[in-house]
Symmetry: C2
Subunit: 427 residues, 2 copies
Amino acid sequence: MKTFFEPRSVAVVGVSESPTNLGRRIMNNMIQFDYSGIVYAVGPKGGVIHGRRIYHSVLDIPDQVDLAVILTPARTIPQIIDDCGRKGISHTIIESAGFREYGDDGVALENEILDIAGRWPIRLLGPNGIGTMNMENGLATPFAILSSGLAAGGISIISQSGGVGLSYMNLLASESLGLNKFASVGNKLDVDENDILEYLIEDEGTKIICMYLEGISDGRRLMEIAARSDKPILLHKSNIGEMGNRIAHSHTAALSSDDKVVDAALRQCGIIRFHDMHKLGNFLKILALPPMRGKNLAILSRSGGHAVIAADACEMAGFDLPQFPGEFLAAIEKHFRANVIKLMNPLDLGDLFDPDVYTRIMEETIKRDEIDGIVFLHTYNPQNEMDKSRKLLPVIEQLSDRYTKPIAVCISSEEGEISLLRKDYAY
Amino acid sequence: MKTFFEPRSVAVVGVSESPTNLGRRIMNNMIQFDYSGIVYAVGPKGGVIHGRRIYHSVLDIPDQVDLAVILTPARTIPQIIDDCGRKGISHTIIESAGFREYGDDGVALENEILDIAGRWPIRLLGPNGIGTMNMENGLATPFAILSSGLAAGGISIISQSGGVGLSYMNLLASESLGLNKFASVGNKLDVDENDILEYLIEDEGTKIICMYLEGISDGRRLMEIAARSDKPILLHKSNIGEMGNRIAHSHTAALSSDDKVVDAALRQCGIIRFHDMHKLGNFLKILALPPMRGKNLAILSRSGGHAVIAADACEMAGFDLPQFPGEFLAAIEKHFRANVIKLMNPLDLGDLFDPDVYTRIMEETIKRDEIDGIVFLHTYNPQNEMDKSRKLLPVIEQLSDRYTKPIAVCISSEEGEISLLRKDYAY
């Protein structure tokens, strides 16, 4: 799998001088993400792109090529794969659509391609996908325009749908969560999610793996790989009902499975299942924090109402809110005017906001053996409390690092402020 | 209740020249929201604020006052209420904390206040709340700094918690949803959520009512009022478990109830229950659309993956996706290259995006008798498809209005683009 993410040279097949040509977009992405290898453009009409020659065929490229990325009409692919074989290219990504998802003719075409690839042999990713990305070397093979805010980090994505994969990348960009590697598996003619997953659980740059699948190729193998992974694996398995299956079958030729069986199997091998992007964003942020050692949480909240909502949520999620011992309460009581806060867990800090007092209480709380983590709920208006609220965030991060316990921060403020925090105070 | 929202004159009691004084904030809010009545400042130390006199007592105000908003230490309140009575003020809002939520002394103080108020009589809102707002006349009595993006509209809020009420206002501002009236009921010493709700269901400016409650004062009355409301009522009832109750009791002195009973009762009287802000935002946006007459949805999606996810969600929520008849499919097939889209419901529109074709398909779909509403899923990158994507939105709005059927739009794009859409293309 390594060559799909770490090729030293790439040929993009299907590039033309036409401004609407999708192959150009792949070339543009490779340049924009500053790919560290050599990239060659190939297209039957030849011509020039970005000051470089468009070769008529991969056979005309004068150097060794590790990976070919192909985006040409479906019927042209068998010949191109054969050319790749003759050129000594061992890995190809087929982004073109028009195969199994369109019926019997497409199945025949896929079998022909598989047959040719097997003779050389060539590994195939796709068809009907948007390829791979690697933020470590700037490899960016999708034909779509990519989210401008995308940064490098530890999250790797496997997606059966290109569109959903792009939405995940939009989410990472908007939440300042860093991408490591990306693979769109499409119709999974040769390489499937398990092949990629097996590579990613050994891959040094990947810390968290996030998957979107409409069909599971080999459930037993998925469970085996997941069970030996010490990296968190998040999965959105869609195509749950009959209506979803109707379109999923034509989209990526995926068959549905009994969803209760899927649920149980995923739980058994430790895969975290999610059903929407909102949950995914929360899970990714939570997984970036140190894990809790037990189930004892402390809730610190500026607003009593938010504390009640958080306590409900903790109880429903199976956490405990242990009572604080008397000497701890006596210690923190000194920081406050009498009668302003109620000394219990959840701790309602009251409306008066002093970042130094908040920091001291947070440290007193996080250092206690019986506390495994903190949920901190803060509300403020940027007009008058922006600076002292923002100042608090790096301090919270240091406390969490020092005591290797998670401090989840939930802020309610104006939209503009929240947007800025997402960008400037992401971990 | 009318005087709590439509007073001709307001006295703010507890104003001083100190820059940290919270009464000043109320004065500032009244000015910022351009209150159309007369506002008087009152505080024992006297002085000047914004070029006007701070009266030592409400008794010194030379004119008639409809409503007093009080934010002074708890122990001073009984005397002030009595002064209000002597002045002929019929309605007071007490924003001060330090009553029942702090134990037995607080209960005694509350009883004393209730007793004095009953003699005149005076209606009381609070204590331990943040007052009322009315976007129609600029009444803005909260002592908190308010969300700068807040606009006028048809959504009214009743909140038992000031902090949660402010978070709801942040949500409205960030989603460009307009506020009509707001009331924070706090400890509900006299006026409770039912009194306000009864007023709002008759209030012309209120189209949708949204409530946050930690305790329900009189469930039977709530059900009776809700049952005769033709306006949608959304309720976040927190304080569900034991841990939430611990803090809720000290926060607004709320007692918990059996949550299954709450659930069943709310369903029976047509109140829509929600548990988080994310859901609230979605519900408010959905309720702004024309209601569906049946349960038949059409899903139109640019991305096959998003179509699968939407179809799953529709099935789980109990919607139907009826198959389109042959002549409809033949008609829309003409708009596309052969084999690019699969003709079914969900309709995967394929990657090629032409706003005119999309509009024609959407109109062909929404006008059909067997279709009660559309879910339209669009993905684009602002770099190359911003203008034609934005152009689509007013057209969709017109189609929805013309056929009085809902078209729910779900867009996946970069964060900056989504933010702009929220502001510029809200209904």
